[in-house]
Symmetry: C2
Subunit: 332 residues, 2 copies
C-alpha cells in the first residue's frame, strides 16, 4: 500500500480498544484536557472584543459572525461572508479547540492564536478595518479603557493587547467531555457498540494517521488528495503559499474532527455538505479505499461521538461608544 | 405656547420630585416592573430562534444581527444592513423593553411582538427567507423538533409557533434597576444632584409629555417636528403608511428612552449621532425651546441614568442541521 509511506506507522498499528480504564494511553486519540492557567480577567475582556463588531469597518461583523459560538465556532457556510457581503475564498474553520492546533489557518501561516487574531481585523475581505482604526475605536470607549487598565495595569490600548485578550478568550474554547472522551476515560457505555465499530474502522483503515491526538487532527499538514487528486474549482493552493515549495501544493492543516457534526460544510472549499460525503471522499482520496454504506455510516456515527460540551458563557455586554468614538462606515 | 395644545397637560404639570419613598406615584415615569408569567421553556426556545441565522436565506443574519443584545438590542448603525448588504430604510429600534410598546415598528404597523416577529424573516431587505422555508429548515432539525414537542406538546413546527417562542423570549428582555429607577424607588443617592436637575428640566420643559410611563416612551404616536419641521433625506413617511391619513405623515411611535445611552444613533433615520444632538433637536423641533449647553448637558446626564440591568443569559447553543436541512443561499 503506497499510502503507508506517508503515514506515521506507529499510529496505524495502535491496538484495538479494550475496556480498561487505562485504555487512553494506548489510543491514538486522547481526551481533551480541561483548560488550565487562564487569566480570567484577560479572557473576559477578550470575550467582549471577540463579540464586538466595532472592530470591523462596517460595525456589523465580529469574530463571532464567522466563528459563531452558538454553531460550533463556524458560520456553517461554504465560504465566509465578509465586509460588504464579499464572498470569502475559503471555509471558516472552527475556533473550538483551536488552541490545540500546531499553527493557525488552513495553511498554517500564523504561528499561534495571538498572531492569528490580528489578521481578520485588517483583512479587507473580512472585517476591513485597520489596526490603527481598531485601536482608536477601542481606546475611545471609557468602559474598555477601564478594563484594559484593570487587566494590563495601564490604560494603553494597542493591537498587541487586543490580540492578547482575544487569544486568551479563545484558549477557553475547548470542548471536553464528549461521549467519546467519556468512553476513553473508562465509561464503557458512553458510546454504543455501533459507534465503537466505527472507531475501530477509523483506526484500522488509517484515518488516525492524520486525525489523532487530543483534537483528532490539527497537529500536522497533509496533502489533500494523497492517493487520488481532489477536484475543486477553489483556487486556494494550501501550504505552498507559506513554504513556497511546490511539494506543499494542496497540503492543508488537517482539521480537528472534534465537534465535526457542527462544523459542516466540510473541506477547505466547503464543498462536502455532509459527513457521509466527507468520509467517502477521505476514504477514496486519502486511503484509496471505498467504504461500503454500512462502514461509512459506522464511521459517521463514531465522528458524532466527538461532540463535546460547548463553551457555556454569559453573552457579553459591550461598553457603549461615546461621542468621540469613530463611527462605523458600512456603506462607503 | 402653541405646543401645549398638543400635549397631555396633566403630565406637564407633574409636581417636582420629592425624596419620599412614595415618590414614584407622583412621577410621570415609573420603574420598570420585573417580568412575570414567563413560560421559561418557550422563552428558551425563542432565544435559540432569535440567535439562529438559519431563519435567513443567507444563513448569516439572525434577529441578533440587527438587535444585538450585547449592544442595547440595536445594531448601532444609521440604518440596518440586510441580506446581501442591502442598506435598510430606517434605524433599527431596540428590542429591550419592546414588550411595553403600544405597538411595534416606528409606524406601529404590527400590533404586538408575535405579529412583528414574522416580518423580518420574510422581508427581502432583511432576512430574505420565507415562512415556508423557515419552517422547513427548523422542522428538519431534530434538536428543534424535540424542543417544539416538549414546549408545545406536539412536534409540529409552524410560523405561528416560531413567532410565539421569539415573542416570549423578547418579553424577558426588560431592563429594570437603572439608577433612575433606584431613585424612583427611594434611594436618594442613586442619581446625582446634576442628574436630578436634568430630570427636572426634562419634566418642566415638556419632554415627559411624550416620553413617559414605564418605558419613558413607546406608548404613543407623535409628530416628529411639531413646532419646526424636521429636515431629512430619509423617505419614510411614518404612521401615515398605516392609517392612510395625511395628518399622520411624519408621525412616529415615540421611542423608549430606556437604555438610550446604548441605542445611538438616534431618530428613525439615525441621523443624530449623539444624545447632545438629539436633545437639542427635540428641544427646538418638539418644544420650540433652545437649551443652553448646560441645560442640554444636564438632560443628557439624566438620560444616561436610564440604563438598566441588561439581560444576562447564557449564549444559546443551536441544534446542528442534518443532511436533510435546506442549505443557506448566501450568494444567489
Ligand atoms: C469574514 C469572516 C471571518 C471573520 C470576521 C473572522 N474570521 Fe477567523 N477565519 C475565517 C476564515 C475563512 C478562516 C480560514 C482562513 C484561512 O485559513 O486562510 C479563519 C481562520 C481563523 C482561525 C484559524 C483556525 C484554524 O484552525 O486554523 C482562527 C483562530 C480565527 N479565524 C479566529 C478569528 C478571530 C479571533 C476573529 C476576529 C478578530 C476572526 N477569526 C474573524 C473567517 C473569519
Ligand atoms: C493523509 C492524511 C489524511 C487521512 C489518512 C485522512 N484525512 Fe481526513 N483530512 C485530511 C486533510 C488534509 C483534510 C482537509 C482537506 C481539505 O479541507 O481540503 C481532512 C478533512 C477531513 C474531514 C473534513 C473536516 C472539516 O472540518 O472540513 C473529515 C470529516 C475527515 N477528514 C475524516 C477523515 C476520515 C473519516 C478518514 C479516514 C477514512 C480520514 N479523514 C483520513 C487528512 C487526512
Ligand atoms: C436586517 C436588520 C433586521 C433584522 C434581521 C431584524 N430586524 Fe427587527 N427591526 C429592524 C428595523 C430596521 C426595524 C424598524 C422597522 C420599522 O419600524 O419600519 C425593526 C423593528 C423591530 C421591532 C419593533 C421595535 C419597536 O420598538 O418598534 C422588533 C420587536 C424587532 N424588530 C424584532 C426583530 C426580530 C424578533 C427579528 C428576527 C425574527 C428581527 N427583528 C430581525 C431591523 C432588523
Ligand atoms: C411631541 C412629542 C415629543 C416631545 C415633546 C419630545 N419628544 Fe423626543 N421624540 C419624539 C418622537 C416622535 C421621537 C422619534 C422621532 C424620529 O425618530 O423621527 C423622539 C425621539 C427622541 C430621542 C431619540 C430616541 C431614539 O432612540 O432615537 C430622544 C433622545 C428624545 N426624543 C429626547 C427628548 C427630549 C430630551 C425631549 C425634551 C426636550 C423630547 N424628546 C421631547 C416625541 C417627542
Ligand atoms: Ca467546515
Ligand atoms: Ca437608534
Amino acid at each position: 500500500m503506497r499510502i503507508k509511506h506517508h503515514l506515521p506507522v506507529a499510529l496505524l498499528s495502535a491496538t484495538a480498544a479494550t475496556f480498561s480504564i487505562n485504555v487512553q494511553a494506548e489510543e491514538p486519540i486522547q481526551p481533551i484536557q480541561p483548560v488550565k492557567e487562564i487569566n480570567l480577567a484577560l479572557a473576559e475582556l477578550g470575550k467582549k472584543l471577540y463579540f464586538d463588531p466595532r472592530l470591523s469597518k462596517s460595525g456589523f461583523i465580529s469574530c463571532n459572525s464567522c466563528h459563531n459560538l452558538s454553531m460550533g465556532g463556524t458560520d456553517n457556510l461554504k465560504t465566509s461572508i465578509g465586509d460588504k457581503w464579499q464572498q470569502g475564498p475559503i471555509n471558516s474553520p472552527t475556533v473550538l479547540n483551536s488552541s490545540l492546533n500546531v499553527a493557525q489557518f488552513w495553511d498554517g501561516r500564523a504561528a499561534d492564536l495571538k498572531e492569528q487574531a490580528g489578521g481578520p481585523i485588517a483583512n479587507p475581505g473580512e472585517m476591513a478595518s485597520s489596526h490603527t482604526l481598531a485601536v482608536d475605536v477601542i481606546a475611545s470607549i471609557p468602559g474598555y479603557v477601564r478594563e484594559f487598565t484593570l487587566v494590563f495595569g495601564g490604560e494603553e490600548v494597542s493591537i498587541d493587547r487586543i490580540t492578547d485578550a482575544i487569544a486568551e478568550f479563545e484558549k477557553t474554547l475547548v470542548t471536553p467531555n464528549s461521549r467519546f472522551d467519556q468512553w476513553l476515560l473508562g465509561d464503557a457505555n458512553a458510546i454504543s457498540q455501533y459507534e465503537q465499530e466505527g472507531y475501530e474502522l477509523f483506526k484500522s483503515s488509517g484515518c488516525v494517521a492524520c486525525h489523532n491526538g487530543e483534537a483528532v487532527g490539527g497537529n500536522s499538514f497533509q496533502k489533500m488528495g494523497l492517493v487520488e487528486p481532489y477536484q475543486t474549482n477553489n483556487e486556494v493552493e494550501g501550504r505552498a503559499a507559506v513554504t513556497g515549495k511546490d511539494a506543499d501544493r494542496f497540503t492543508f492543516k488537517v482539521p480537528t474532527l472534534r465537534n465535526v457534526e457542527m462544523t459542516y460544510p466540510y473541506f477547505h472549499d466547503g464543498e462536502a455538505e455532509t459527513l457521509t460525503e466527507a468520509t467517502d471522499i477521505m476514504g477514496r482520496l486519502q486511503l484509496g479505499r471505498k467504504f461500503s454504506d454500512d462502514e461509512n455510516a459506522k464511521i459517521v456515527a463514531f465522528l458524532k461521538t466527538l461532540t463535546g460540551d460547548q463553551p457555556q458563557f454569559l453573552m457579553p455586554i459591550l461598553p457603549p461608544s461615546v461621542d468621540a468614538t469613530p463611527r462605523p462606515q458600512p456603506f462607503d
